[in-house]
């Protein structure tokens, strides 16, 4: 197999990896905020449920969660799953796992806000939703950006876990080629791909942080 063909194959896998990455962020970032609300709710039952959810998501391996989400419908409910479900399962597992981590990051940011901001907003007549989305959330986002960047960088590398249910993303393909051609090259190339991917992520996040630095 020529280098061009190998890189082409890896490139195709890379696209799948990027898709997993993008879709996970798209779903887990808002979901995390909802979970954070549950975690901070006045309702004790809701608070307890979200606490257990976060605990389980953070306390068990993501690879195991992937298997449960993928095979669960068949083993538990005897539902026949089509081949299209594989990718869906990857996104579901990643989204609910990362939402748990993001929820705790949101919570730390929200709880670090001085109560005076809420009080000023209240006296000025802002409603609850207005206060949160106009006054609190923008400041929370600035505060939590470094932690979010950490998670996002981890996510780039975690996409390779989709290998566990044979989703054909970059790592899975790299390993297949390496085994078939008995060469380390595809694994090295995959490593370079992941590294560049994360370099881009880090640069973008740095830009975002800079964009938020117009105030203190």
């Amino acid at each position: 197999m020529s280098i061009q063909v190998m890189l082409l194959q890896l490139g195709k896998g890379m696209i799948v990896s990027v898709e997993i990455f993008m879709l996970t962020l798209l779903f887990s970032l808002p979901l995390g905020l909802i979970v954070a609300f549950g975690r901070m709710s006045k309702n004790a039952v809701l608070r307890w449920i979200t606490k257990v959810y976060i605990s389980v998501m953070r306390g068990t391996p993501l690879m195991l969660q992937l298997l449960v989400v993928y095979f669960g419908p068949y083993y538990v409910f005897k539902i026949r799953i089509g081949s299209g479900y594989r990718f869906v399962a990857v996104i579901i597992a990643f989204a609910i796992n990362y939402a748990a981590y993001f929820a705790e990051i949101y919570r730390s940011g929200i709880e670090s806000m001085p109560v005076g901001q809420y009080e000023a907003a209240k006296v000025l007549g802002y409603g609850r939703a207005q206060t949160f989305f106009k006054i609190i959330l923008p400041q929370v986002i600035k505060r939590i950006l470094p932690s979010v960047t950490n998670e996002i960088i981890t996510l780039v590398k975690d996409t390779s876990l989709a290998f566990a249910i044979a989703q054909a993303e970059m790592f899975t393909i790299a390993k297949q080629i390496a085994a078939a051609q008995t060469t380390i090259m595809p694994l090295m190339a995959a490593g370079v791909f992941y590294y560049i991917f994360n370099l881009i992520v880090a640069t973008v996040m740095e830009r975002v942080e800079k964009a938020c630095s117009y105030y203190r």
Binding site: A120, V123, R216
Partner: protein, 252 residues
């Protein structure tokens, strides 16, 4: 006309009685200062009046309308919509300013006018610019709070409160976070407002200022009003405790 009326207000924090049966009313155009040692309940009283804290019992009225009624010793607040309307009567200036750090000076002032009071943008901006000019901050229009001195930040927060055109303005130790020089510049603004007959209730530790600006001074200690009267009455009182307190702070 009574703008604010508080009757028999009581407030506990975890069994600690912070306010023990306080009654207070403020007439239109009146400037009332509240003085007293730390922990005397001055700020709690202000926070109850501004609905940041719920009273345990007692009544709260704005313009003769109930914000909270006493029903058999329990305090019952008016509906959310009514409270929101009554909230329009007053503004509050905080000790720590509590400006929104991610908004420019202009946006700090105009944002609630636009998204709460639904004023047209042009009117909101005009109102804000006029106030900024009055308070000597015209050139700070586009600055962010962190770029301003404490005194400037406090003046912006006064402008933000005034922009809502309240009938009554509360100040919670407005100069306690400022050094003496910056204190002077903020007190000057409040004195000017007093001259324009703005109704104000001011919790302060600045005795000389309270004496100059107030129509009435209230001395609070241990959750009760120990003494009240005109500045001359209070500064000439026979009450040992009040004399001692005032003496300490005015350095005599």
């Amino acid at each position: 006309m009574k703008l604010l009326e508080m009757n028999h207000v009581k407030k506990n924090f975890d069994g600690l009685e912070v306010l023990k049966d306080i009654s207070l009313s403020v007439e239109e155009g009146e400037v009332v200062s509240i003085i007293g040692p730390s922990g005397s309940g001055k700020s709690t009283l202000l926070r109850c009046a501004t609905l940041l804290e719920q009273m345990d019992s007692g009544q709260l009225l704005y313009l003769g309308e109930y914000a909270a009624k006493d029903e058999g010793g329990r305090c019952v607040y008016a509906s959310k919509a009514d409270l929101k309307r009554l909230q329009h009567c007053f503004g509050l200036v905080f000790q720590n300013f509590n400006l929104f750090p991610h908004y420019s000076v202009l946006k700090n002032i105009t944002d609630s006018l636009l998204c709460v009071d639904k004023l047209p943008r042009q009117e909101a901006v005009e109102r804000a610019e006029k106030l900024l000019a009055q308070l000597g901050l015209a050139d700070k229009r586009d600055a962010y709070p962190y770029q301003l001195s404490g005194g400037q930040q406090q003046r912006v927060s006064i402008a933000r409160a005034l922009a809502k055109q309240p009938k009554l303005l509360f100040f919670d130790e407005p100069t306690s976070a400022l050094d003496p020089e910056l204190t002077v510049e903020v007190l000057k603004v409040i004195k000017q407002l007093a001259k324009e007959h703005m109704t104000m209730v001011i919790v302060t530790h600045e005795m000389q200022f309270a004496r100059e600006v107030s129509d009435r001074i209230i001395f609070m200690e241990e959750g009760v009003i120990k003494e009240q009267g005109t500045p001359d009455e209070l500064f000439g009182t026979d009450n040992e405790r009040v004399r001692e307190f005032i003496g300490h702070l005015s350095g005599k």
